[in-house]
Subunit: 462 residues, 2 copies
């Protein structure tokens, strides 16, 4: 039986050196989507391998077509202890537009915000380096205090989560036995609020496509050709505008196949959280709910599918004006999926829709991105209940079981390829500005996050 | 009475040195819309002032808020000779995308295309440095051969034509007396084809607006906020898609006020040119006429108004994918005007339309560009008839009077501010790729262009 209080005190005493380690990792600009940072991604992987070894893990960085996947194991645990797989990612999002950052994205700092609140600044501080380090530092407390971990633990860190995890499915096919465990612990999600920890029981899936439309064989002068030549930006605008009807519903045929209304009892739990559209949108400077009519902002982001244009480009976009008719225009479009929506079918229907809107003399190229179904956990799974209790012991308010709007494709892969459920626990906050300038992580998230994992491991070991 | 043959021979003999001068000017990257090239615009202006002085003109580069406007005069002409103003512009379009150029845009070359055809490569070779130099070299032949010019000539070169001529209206208000003449000669248009010179009797006007839509106060993660938060790219796509109806007509209220159908006799002349939609569009790799249904490509570009999106940008547009909901999205939209369409009214109606499509919690900023009405010359003006005869003498086929899809705002300003008509003669070809990579000017356009101006000046002097 572990001495929980001694473990928690050890984590408290270790906090300064735990922060030093986090900062070392945050200083590595491991932007996975941009080939210019390939070496940095490798450096982040190597740093983690070294760190895992100091924690007594056998750790290897496996080569992939993209960035390395780290697998680490520790068998040194009590007889009959459950076997868990901890998953995190060491890659981060791009940092543009750089001019909107108050501090250097890759030179992390601790900032005192007053009233006892401190934050850790920098790209990846929350998503996902800060989060994954909470688990490693919990392992460290166990090692230092008790000499062994309370569970059989395998760790997998990937470096392509922010760019759609292209190498992961093949890796799991080939090396699934290396990482198969009783269930997975995934630390890439958030708290409900500053005082209330959360376990995510649903995750939206994702399918993305880049659409490139080509009209004329060159950029044209809009005076000479305007009115007679096809303008690919017009065609693209028509396509994008036609994706939603006047009620905000996605118009693709069959899009809502497999989408079920949220059960009334689940909706009641969510309503009890007291969230309002005003507060949800007010936090980001908005007030009018967009998207499907008749749903709360919470339900729209947790339980409804979407079509979103993530980027659009065409023609002259620099300073000043250029009266050009572009040869090409492009858009990056993604769909968030729920329930049993089929990513392959949705991609197929989207492409057919785009083709149907295309004049005969224009052409379109597609570049796929991602493709993962939604997932839905059993609300009554024992590991979920144990974790819920452990989190409730650490934080001021009891842990809640919620939905998640984001996609973590790996969780779908764990389920479909390895038959493994995932416990989704994380300590991010909505205002962490992940994927945006001025990303931060609360010092409280980091510190109590470490303590939370100690409590969860302790509970799972029983 | 001038010895026309001696003048033409002089121009022929001068051709090599005329090309040297043109190349000097083409080497100056005078991109007016990009502030990084401000010094180069000034350099091009200074080069022209020096050149004009060697041709016996009194020449001055007048400072403006933007790039200099050059005014040059030569009073040394026969008694009672008409007074003409020659207009051109020394600025050029940006050169992006640079990777599509076969040769350096600012290192002009002569390329032998076989069968006696040669071209001059480089940005500005056609639009408008090559064109304006045809007139200067015609003046040179007169100076060298006869010691004086056959007409009273004022020359005005501006450096902001490619960025909407922002300084020109104020300059004309203040210094209109410096440039007022009996009529203007404007060399910024094209031939009908390689053998048929053309005089443009109609020019479309232009009004442009940049639209910047702001939704949330930051870029958002599309997982956390997708489905509930307004996406400015969706709003923009709706706005742009709604600009045209299913028949390709512009939907703005009152847009067609002042637009008249082309008279049947004019349409017959145009039909006699033998142009087909297939050929017109085939040249740029297209085959399906876009825009208003029921009009030929020629009529669509010469006599019908348009709404065109010249650029669109929003969200993540780099390599890879970023599942972001952008805070902002923007588009550059321009309208080509005909007949008596009112630029101010159209801008106003466009902005009202955009506002009407905007959710209450989003905002829009507008940045105006240009704003010039269409112009329409008298088909029977004497100067037009004389020029038509002179051009017909130089080229294999008789000169035709056509419409022009492009806008030359200065021609509208000459008419509205100085009561001065303009003779629009130029030697560009449709495949000159002006405003695009690999701009070129035919050696034939340059050489016979010089000869054409000699003939036109000779005819106008009679």
């Amino acid at each position: 039986m572990s001495d929980l209080n001694a473990l928690l005190k050890r984590a408290d005493d270790n906090l300064p050196s735990s922060l030093d380690k986090l900062f070392d990792l945050l200083r590595i600009p491991s932007i996975s989507t941009d080939p210019a940072y390939k070496k940095d991604c490798t450096a982040a992987a190597n740093w983690l391998v070294d760190e895992l070894k100091t924690l007594g893990f056998m750790a290897t960085a496996h080569k992939t077509k993209g960035h390395p996947i780290i697998v680490a194991t520790s068998e040194n645990a009590p007889e009959n202890a459950p076997h868990v797989l901890f998953y995190g990612h060491y890659d981060v999002q791009p940092v543009d537009p750089l001019n909107l950052w108050d501090d250097e994205p890759f030179d992390p700092k601790i900032k005192d915000m007053g009233q006892g609140r401190k934050i850790i600044t920098g790209r990846g501080s929350s998503d996902d380096k800060g989060q994954l380090m909470t688990f490693l530092q919990a392992c460290r407390a166990y090692r230092e205090e008790e000499g062994e971990l309370p569970l059989k633990i395998t760790i997998m860190f990937e470096g392509e989560e922010e760019s759609g995890s292209p190498s992961l499915p093949a890796f799991l096919e080939e090396h699934g036995d290396l990482v198969k465990a009783d269930f997975a612990l995934v630390c890439d999600t958030g708290m409900w609020d500053r005082e209330t920890p959360a376990i995510a029981a649903t995750l939206r899936g994702l399918v993305g496509d880049e659409v490139v439309i080509t009209a004329a064989d060159r950029d044209l002068h809009s005076g000479f050709f305007g009115g007679a030549a096809a303008n690919p930006i017009h065609i693209l605008a028509d396509i994008l505008a036609g994706l939603h009807d006047e009620n905000g519903r996605v118009t693709l045929p069959g899009f809502y196949d497999g989408v079920e209304e949220t059960p009334e009892d689940v909706k009641k739990t969510w309503e009890a959280l007291g969230e309002t559209d005003e507060r949800f949108l007010g936090e980001i400077g908005l007030s009018v709910p967009a998207g499907e009519k008749g749903y709360s902002a919470l339900e729209l982001t947790w339980a409804r599918p979407t079509a979103e244009v993530n980027g659009v480009a065409g023609g002259y976009t620099g300073d000043g004006f250029k009266t050009v008719i572009a040869a090409q225009a492009s858009a990056k479009v993604s769909f968030r999926l729920v329930g049993k929506q089929d990513p392959a079918k949705i991609r197929e229907n989207f492409r057919a829709y785009v083709q149907s809107k295309l004049p005969d003399d224009c052409k379109v190229d597609f570049h796929p991105h991602g493709g993962s179904p939604a997932i839905q956990l059993d609300y009554n799974a024992p590991f979920l209940k144990k974790a819920q209790g452990a989190l409730s012991d650490e934080w001021p308010k009891p842990a809640v079981v919620i939905g998640m709007g984001g996609s973590i494709p790996i969780v779908g892969d764990f389920q479909s390829k390895l038959g493994m459920d995932s416990l989704l626990v994380g300590f991010g906050l909505n205002d962490d500005r992940i994927h945006s300038p001025n990303e931060k992580y609360e010092m409280n998230s980091f510190h109590k996050g470490i303590r939370s994992w100690i409590r969860i491991m302790n509970a799972l070991a029983k």
